[in-house]
């Protein structure tokens, strides 16, 4: 006990290293990365530095969590630096803006820190292997360094987000992770997944960035309202002041905050960026767009729990948004063919679960699902990345050994740049036959060629589908049980149906990817990944299995952990709810077997659901045409307005008439007549020329003094001495 006391008091001061460790890592890689990469061991060094930086953040997180535990769960605020102090709160009207960089270390933030840095470190390690192959596939090995710099930057920004002590510090991290997301989605900004010249990825990055900005506007307005009403951004000040504020104001603040959450956590109506964000490398999809960044919205609502619990109306809106998103995205996931797109919609759906949970006030259930989801969704994404790499290897193998005709531009030319690459695509003459390693219709039978990945993927699937006793079962069930008990009947049924779809699309994916016969030669020749890729997956798989133990019914470990920070109520285990959801999940898996497993898909065959569901499946396949709808309603009108502004207002009115006629005309008159003729020629020129003439005359007479005789110069010196001495005497 002496040890725990002496240690616990010291660890809080380590909090700034949460941010500085990754920043240090990224600086090392920025400065020395290029030098590393010129050497054979360079990639390992870059990856190790980045992983160690992230690992250091994890160690710090663990020490902080221990400190929180040892201090009785209360945590501490660690002041680091003064950001800005405007005004003095103690004098005058008391209006002041006091902002400090303070780390809030409590049970909620340390939970997020552990997830971010823990999963983050595993993904860093995975990325060492993944990016090694990816940069070679895309033929630009210099970007290896940049990837890890961005990844460390993301960890640093995410740590600022979760450790902020005020809404503004949280917003700094919020924007920081948004930037990293943009940078990493557009990591291969000038080529598509196959390495062909294309701007699709950078467009996806822009879409994510701009959609998030819409959400951030909502968050900003919430922040402005907050400061206007409470004169502070600090969590504690705001929460205390909010209790005596008018409920209408709190509703406004919480709903505007929900807009921000919808942007960052991909909820209706701003979820559209997340599926496109899969354009980033797979570790990015796993880390940023599944496990950590997108859960920032859930964290924000949990953090703002004291605000939300004041206004049940807002809570209801949040819960319904989450539940609707959960079901809506789950249906889209059923109709997707890209292995990562399915997971992307699954992520949106699961985020819907979490948002619904925190909306209902079940903050513990939401955070619990956040943690377990981070484990199994990261596992699924990384395994999907392993599958894609396996197929690429198989394809590469084909292209080199001549089994059949290579169906994409050859990968043999090293160092080909984008222009050359597109030229090759044109030369090959079969652009429609290009092989897509992410398309599930090209897979099949991978169970035999990639056994390790298969088992890992299966564990992730079972955890996501909510099968007992995997992690997902416990967390999802807690959300459903809370919805049931709290009387959110609508939310409960939406989520239950979404859970059914979840199990169904995951079953479909398993059958399509790993069972049946290979539908493409590349799948037949797929190779298993290296340990650097599979070992982090095994750790995640282990966590996906046992993660549920965090908050087992009856024990409530996690509930007790969080109760010091946010208001909690111990979720009770409802047997009927658990039975219904498990039965539905099992039923969904059986149905998926009946459709996809019993009669495996053949190459070129359309999806078996297409015929019976007809239009419904077309909708799912095409994401319910939401993107097209947004384009018709927002984008096209936006472009129309922009064109009107550009052509009519800017060009014809401002440029042709106002600038050319009014401004330029007046300016010409002023400059030609008034200024040039009178002011310049007769005024300034005359003066300047006269000055020049005068200088010439004076210098001509002074020139005689410069006679070249050193003795007369000495005489001048003596004259000076005499004069100065005389002046001193007469003074």
């Amino acid at each position: 006990m002496l040890l725990s006391e002496s240690i616990s008091t010291n660890f809080f001061s380590l909090a700034p290293w949460l941010v500085f460790a990754p920043v240090l890592g990224l600086l090392v890689n920025v400065i020395f990365g290029g030098w590393f990469l010129k050497r054979a061991w360079g990639e390992t060094a870059v990856g190790t530095v980045a992983s160690l930086a992230s690992g250091a953040a994890f160690v710090v997180s663990a020490l902080l969590a221990w400190s929180v535990y040892a201090s009785g769960g209360h945590g501490e605020s660690v002041f680091l630096a003064q950001w800005m102090h405007i005004g003095d709160p103690s004098t005058g009207s008391g209006q002041a803006l006091i902002l400090d960089w303070t780390f809030r270390v409590d049970s909620l933030s340390t939970t997020m820190m552990l997830v971010v840095s823990g999963v983050g470190t595993l993904i860093h390690i995975y990325a060492i292997g993944y990016m090694h192959e990816d940069v070679r596939f895309k033929k630009d090995e210099k970007r290896y360094q940049r990837f890890f710099v961005f990844l460390n930057l993301f960890i640093a920004a995410m740590m600022i987000l979760v450790s902020g002590d005020s809404y503004l510090m949280l917003f700094v991290g919020w924007e920081g992770v948004g930037l990293c997301s943009f940078l990493l989605i557009g990591f291969w900004y000038d080529m598509d997944t196959l390495g062909r010249s294309s701007w699709a990825n950078s467009n996806a990055a822009k879409k994510a960035f701009i959609t998030n900005r819409i959400g951030d506007l909502g968050f900003l307005i919430a922040g402005f309202l907050m400061f206007w009403a409470f004169k502070s951004f600090d969590f504690d000040t705001v929460f205390t002041a909010a209790e005596s504020a008018s409920p209408e104001l709190i509703v406004l603040i919480t709903l505007f905050m929900l807009v921000g959450v919808a942007g960052k956590s991909a909820q209706i109506p701003l979820y559209v960026w997340l599926p496109d964000a899969m354009a980033g490398p797979t570790p990015v999809s796993a880390l940023i767009h599944a496990a950590t960044m997108v859960t920032a919205g859930v964290y924000l609502i949990s953090r703002s729990a004291p605000l939300y619990t004041l206004v049940p109306e807002a809570q209801y809106v949040v819960a319904m948004t989450g539940a609707a998103t959960a079901l809506f995205a789950a249906t889209i996931a059923v109709g997707q063919y890209d292995i990562k797109k399915v997971l992307a919609y699954s992520t949106i759906s699961q985020l819907g679960f979490m948002v619904a949970a925190v909306g209902m006030g079940a903050f513990v259930a939401g955070m619990f699902h956040l943690v377990t989801h981070a484990f199994f969704k990261a596992l699924l994404f990384l395994s999907a990345g392993s599958v894609i790499l396996g197929l690429e290897r198989g394809h590469h193998h084909l292209a080199h050994h001549g089994h059949g005709t290579p169906k994409s531009p050859d990968f043999g030319h090293a160092g080909a740049k984008s222009d050359a690459r597109s030229q090759e695509t044109l030369d090959s003459g079969h652009p429609e036959e290009v092989f897509d390693p992410g398309d599930m219709r090209n897979m099949g039978g991978l169970r035999k060629t990639m056994p390790v990945t298969f088992w890992l993927y299966l564990i992730g699937t079972l955890a996501l589908a909510g099968i007992f006793p995997f992690a997902g079962f416990w967390s999802k069930d807690e959300i459903l049980a809370d919805a049931f008990r709290e009387g959110y009947t609508g939310v409960y049924w939406l989520l239950t149906i979404a859970a059914f779809f979840t199990a169904f699309y995951m079953g479909r994916q398993i059958w399509m990817v790993f069972f049946g016969e290979p539908r493409h030669e590349a799948a037949a020749h797929a190779e298993e990944s290296k340990p650097v890729i599979t070992v982090p997956l095994m750790v995640l798989a282990f966590l996906s299995i046992v993660g549920g133990a965090l908050n087992l019914p009856g024990l409530h470990t996690f509930t007790e952990w969080l109760e010091h920070t946010i208001e909690v109520h111990a979720g009770e285990f409802v047997m009927s709810v658990a039975l219904i959801s498990t039965a539905l999940a099992l039923a969904a898996i059986v149905i998926s077997w009946l459709i996809y497993g019993r009669n495996p898909l053949k190459a070129g065959q359309p999806d078996p659901l297409k015929k019976p569901l007809g239009l419904l499946f077309t909708g799912m396949e095409n994401k319910w045409f939401v993107d097209e709808g947004y384009k018709a309603v927002f984008l096209d009108n936006y472009v129309r307005i922009s064109k009107f502004l550009a052509d009519v207002i800017d060009w014809r009115f401002w440029h042709d008439w106002f600038h050319e006629k009014v401004i330029a005309g007046a300016y010409n008159w002023l400059s030609n007549v008034a200024l040039n003729e009178y002011a310049d020629q007769k005024g300034i020129d005359a003066f300047a020329n006269g000055l020049g003439e005068w200088t010439k005359e004076v210098s001509a007479s002074l020139r005689r003094i410069q006679n070249g005789f050193v003795r007369s110069y000495a005489l001048s010196v003596l004259l000076g001495v005499v004069l100065i001495l005389g002046y001193l005497l007469l003074k």
């Binding site: 005789f709 003795r711 007369s712 005489l715 003596l718 001495l725």
Partner: protein
């Protein structure tokens, strides 16, 4: 009229006379010899002022080394006398006038503006003792060590500079 004062006046007369001799000698060799005499009389002043070390340095370095160097160069160049040409007619009268003004100013400054000697309280410890040379050495090698070392470098540089300046370049004909 103490003995000191009589001695001073005689030596001052010698100093001014030799300086004038240097100034007005047509022959550069005479000028140099007058200057040696002048330096010697100043060395005696140093002795009178209780600075025996400086007096010896004056004799050896100035009257000895430096003036020998001057004589050597005068003989080497063989330019004891210059052809009388008038280039700057106003130079000489102007110089004499300015010099007169300078002397007047300085004398005025020293005699009328200077602090009366009575106001100066000399420290109890006097430097005019046998131990003075030792103290000079201590001060030179402790307090003034850095300037001393810098001076040695300066002498080295001067030596190198003199050699470089007078060295005959390769291929240069005399």
């Amino acid at each position: 009229m103490t003995v000191d004062l009589i001695l001073f006046l005689i030596l001052a007369l010698v100093a001014v006379a030799t300086a004038a001799g240097m100034l007005f000698s047509r022959n550069a060799v005479y000028s140099a010899l007058f200057l040696v005499l002048n330096f010697a009389s100043i060395a005696v002043f140093y002795l009178l002022l209780g600075a025996p070390f400086i007096a010896m340095a004056q004799i050896t370095v100035y009257a000895g080394a430096i003036m020998v160097l001057f004589l050597f160069v005068i003989m080497l160049l063989g330019a004891e006398q210059l052809a009388p040409i008038k280039v700057l007619p106003w130079q000489r009268p102007l110089a004499i006038g300015l010099a007169a003004v300078l002397v007047a100013e300085t004398a005025y400054l020293l005699i009328l503006r200077a602090k009366p000697a009575a106001d100066i309280i000399p420290p109890a410890e006097t430097v005019n003792t046998l131990g003075e040379l030792q103290r000079l050495g201590m001060a030179l090698f402790n307090q003034y060590l850095l300037p001393f070392e810098v001076t040695s470098i300066l002498l080295l540089v001067a030596m190198v500079g003199a050699i470089v300046l007078t060295k005959r370049e390769k291929g240069e004909r005399e």
